[in-house]
Symmetry: D2
Subunit: 335 residues, 4 copies
């Protein structure tokens, strides 16, 4: 069985990774939806044949019988396209921030914009399969999580649920991301000469991705400090997460909690005490790798969580969600 | 007036920066002390004349009448050389960790080695001029601070002294360093292909530089979590420091405290609220740049402190100390 | 049908790529042959299971019934291992330079060492499938080409054979390679701080890979100038090749010659006039991408040839050769 | 004596280097001329005081009595500003390509634009001090050479003049440049993710800088092949230049010719046979470093020429020209 699927925003970095990964997927045929040609195609060898291109219109989507459409687009474009795509019979996996929060008020607070699709915002399912697998299976509209929140939620939510974190002491997530997370549109901040041999923090304490962490890991804003930082690399996120445990715990104690949540998860990998993931371990994969260091005598704990921002943080997780929607094996095309 | 000075370890990265910086210093003449030719000289153009080279022996040091000798050497070499250098009439600025801690027991704990020079350990002055300027002026042996501790101590000590940090909540220092901090000796960990497009944490909660922070900023170990991380760049350290304030404070309140400590300091620069230093701001300079973000309503504060690990974190600070020892203007050769 | 195969040198960069690529190959089962543990294993997540490890001995090779063994080892190790591996019934694909030249005298000239296996040197087949496919099919011992020669031979040989190059004017190959081409063994030349933000030429006019170009493209040494240069990147080779044509030719004329040689080749891709490959086009693939610029009025031509030094320049081409040896589809595991 | 000077385009990379270098110059006071605020200022520490800013108008230039104005602007802006700047009594050092060629026809051919200031084009002196020092001293308008041509002209012109190059065989210049050469304006081609771990050729055989080489080194277009290529680094140009000598020559023979031209030059450095410059040797300096490899038996020669594209290739050379114009020591502020 082969499902026709579509990609809007296929020239961006997440879009390119969707095309790259889906070209190995045995059960889908890809269509590129020409929305706005705002970015150039890459030079290609003779006889290169990418997937077929069709217009981004209701008629074209219906005619191609697209089962799923990925939106690798800015939030405002996603809000424009989603209603008629659903209408045209496609299910939607949106990689933007448009449908990640649970209320228009919260959206307004963090995105500084009005939300144009309140009903869909309420309908959308947050596509973090490790926690919301069942809801994704039945969804028409899946909101693919942000890259930063994916790494920190997978690290924190099991520990918050287990009640082992001392919430009087602060929880800190110091996050570092490769530049592709900022998208393909040229800007001074992502110019080579500004980034190479440099490192900088931005959106300290006020990054909009914080909202997703508070919602998913059930934390209060005053408990959680988050800093986003720009690494002079192409792809990869590493987050160093600091907290205090309620009682004396070893790294192995923490790992046992993770083991309960993730023992059967195909895309979360744990490191034995003494081992920590680096970015090399996860680049171009859909894995989230987690390692732990503890000092039981002082109840200090440090968790390192690493993903590829374009894969588990975007295109790969979107395909994981698509597999769930289509009733396919969740790992299809991703291992 | 020109002072003859010497450098041991001139082929390493800190040693190279000493040579580079001192070549512009109007009051010293540099001598390279050939100790062990364990690293290659770089290729040089015809007629290149570096500073004169002399043997690393008491006779040569006496004959050259070296006023100050810099040791850009491993701790065990520094312990070997320091006694006879002092004997030969030179003052010593040691860039290794040999003389940074205050007791042999503490040294043993963090460096996992016995200390061979207990008397000198007690005599050595910790060369962080912003706090110990007067002691440095009269010292025979100055222990140049570690690169990581310089950035974090300059950020934390004024706040600890002012009593504004909530010490029940944890203090976190998430530190990122360029690769030159690991020295010039080849190793797999610092090989190009292992580092480029990568990022990794090491020595989590147990880096030996922590000891210097506890001593200088007067913190207890259980209050302070420190992670060292390797950036895929040549030089620069950026530390993101998280804490909670005792009462509601704005970034401006914190900056006022810094202003009191550093208002007249030539090498500490503050950023107005909304501004933060990146590494570009401080590379190849002796500045420590500090910026602050606060959320007064939740008492969360984030301080970003940036230095060049080879300059304010090593060679530049060593020259600052030399200037103090020799009674010169503290900024000579450094602006 | 599944063939057991073995890899010696699996911790090096070419060896790692062999493991990575073969893990997707449907018709082989990989065995790692523990020869010398001279390099560290990488940290791995819990439950990571790499391929099984067996000793690098005749008994173990026989017992495992290895059909093919890859040698990702230095030349002297390859000379040691090859005789008994063949004896034990395995065919050998050697990635070192041990068996690439056609006489012990030539080997001695370029490698500055005596050759210890003259008979095998004469038996070995040069594994550039685009030109020696049939010989590889029947070979016991395949010598996998060097990375630099693969890119330049694929660019030059069809043109030399077609007789279109003016051999009175010089032919120049200006080659640039990522650092992984130098192997995983730490050295000052491949240390991060020496390579980042740097670029340098080495082995100018005397790189040992020149010998393979002279042999394969049938050029005289005085006609061909070659410079190897180190790019501050992990992987990829781009060669800019300059020559004069005998008569006025357009880029399309040159491309037509390539088309005749490579029209049915799965791993050589051509670019239409106006297009040139960059490294992004070929990284992590087994393709050699070729583009052409000509100025017909002055008979000047420039060809850009790009490969991944670890794939088409090493592990990928080795697998291509293995597929031929085993009678499998040549592209198996490589697309 | 202090001369007031001005800089237009001070936010670009060449402009920033002018400001950086001139801040150490003992005989000038810098003024920033606000022309178009098309690029952002960098974040700065409190109390940062850059040079004073004045409007880019004839009145302001007259009032400030600017002796020299540097134009770090696009060619069309330089053509607009130069006439009235000269009128206002300032001498002009233009870093753009506006005044580098000798005729409007030649400009039209290589820049594909009409030239708006023919008289000034004829008046302008080509500011390569090693060859046109005397003309620069008396000039009102100096056209600062391009970055690529500076490195290749310094390497080729003495050899062409000495008549040692076999002009029947081709002369090849394979040039590689850091990204800052493309300017600070954001574009997809200079975005971090497009450049990092990549390498690419552009403007093959038709780069506009070729025109300057033909003029200055007195070559015919059919004799000289030039390729520009983008290195994944911030700054530095390395050019690998290939030619055949008329008779058998050693590297030392070639170096003796250079020695005659450059024996007293402060900014050209030669390497003994066996040594070659890399980019580290010249970054952030005004040096052009030159090394030679020859194979006398085949008359093949390779010259490696390296400069910092922003210093000897732009700002540094411009200051060298300013020093000549003002009658100062040519090396002032540059060593």
């Amino acid at each position: 069985m082969t499902y026709p699927i579509g990609i809007v925003g296929f020239r961006g970095y997440s879009g390119e990774d969707l095309v790259r990964l889906l070209s190995h997927h045995p059960h889908v045929s890809v269509h590129l939806l020409e929305h706005r040609a705002d970015s150039q195609d890459r030079p290609r060898p003779r006889r290169y044949q990418g997937p077929p291109r069709i217009p981004c219109t209701p008629d074209a989507v219906r005619e191609a019988k697209l089962a799923v459409v990925f939106l690798a687009t800015p939030p405002e474009v996603s809000m424009d396209l989603t209603p008629w795509l659903l209408e045209a019979g496609a299910k939607v996996v949106d990689l933007s921030g448009a449908f990640r929060l649970r209320s228009v008020a919260n959206y307004k607070r963090w995105y500084k914009e009005d939300h144009a699709q309140e009903t869909l915002l309420h309908e959308a399912v947050y596509g973090l399969p490790e926690f919301f697998r069942e809801q994704v299976r039945g969804a028409r509209l899946v909101s693919n999580p942000g890259c930063y929140p994916t790494a920190v939620n997978l690290a924190l939510r099991p520990l918050v649920e287990a009640g082992v974190i001392d919430r009087q002491a602060s929880i800190v997530c110091d996050a570092k991301s490769g530049v592709s997370g900022a998208g393909r549109k040229p800007s001074l901040k992502t110019s080579f000469c500004e980034v190479t041999e440099n490192f900088s923090a931005y959106s300290v304490l006020e990054h909009r991705h914080v909202a997703e962490v508070l919602l998913t890991s059930q934390l209060e804003e005053h408990e959680f400090s988050f800093t986003a930082q720009l690494l002079p690399i192409d792809r990869g996120i590493l987050e160093t997460i600091y907290f205090r445990t309620n009682s004396s715990m070893s790294a192995l104690d923490i790992l046992n909690i993770y083991e309960k949540s993730y023992g059967n998860e195909p895309f979360v990998r744990l490191y034995n005490p003494g081992g920590l993931p680096d970015l090399r371990a996860i680049q171009r994969t859909n894995f989230c790798d987690i390692g732990v260091v503890c000092d039981p005598s002082t109840r200090r704990a440090v968790v390192v969580s690493a993903i590829d921002n374009l894969v588990k943080g975007a295109a790969g997780q979107a395909i994981q969600n698509m597999n769930l929607i289509l009733g396919l094996d969740e790992t299809e095309g991703l291992l």
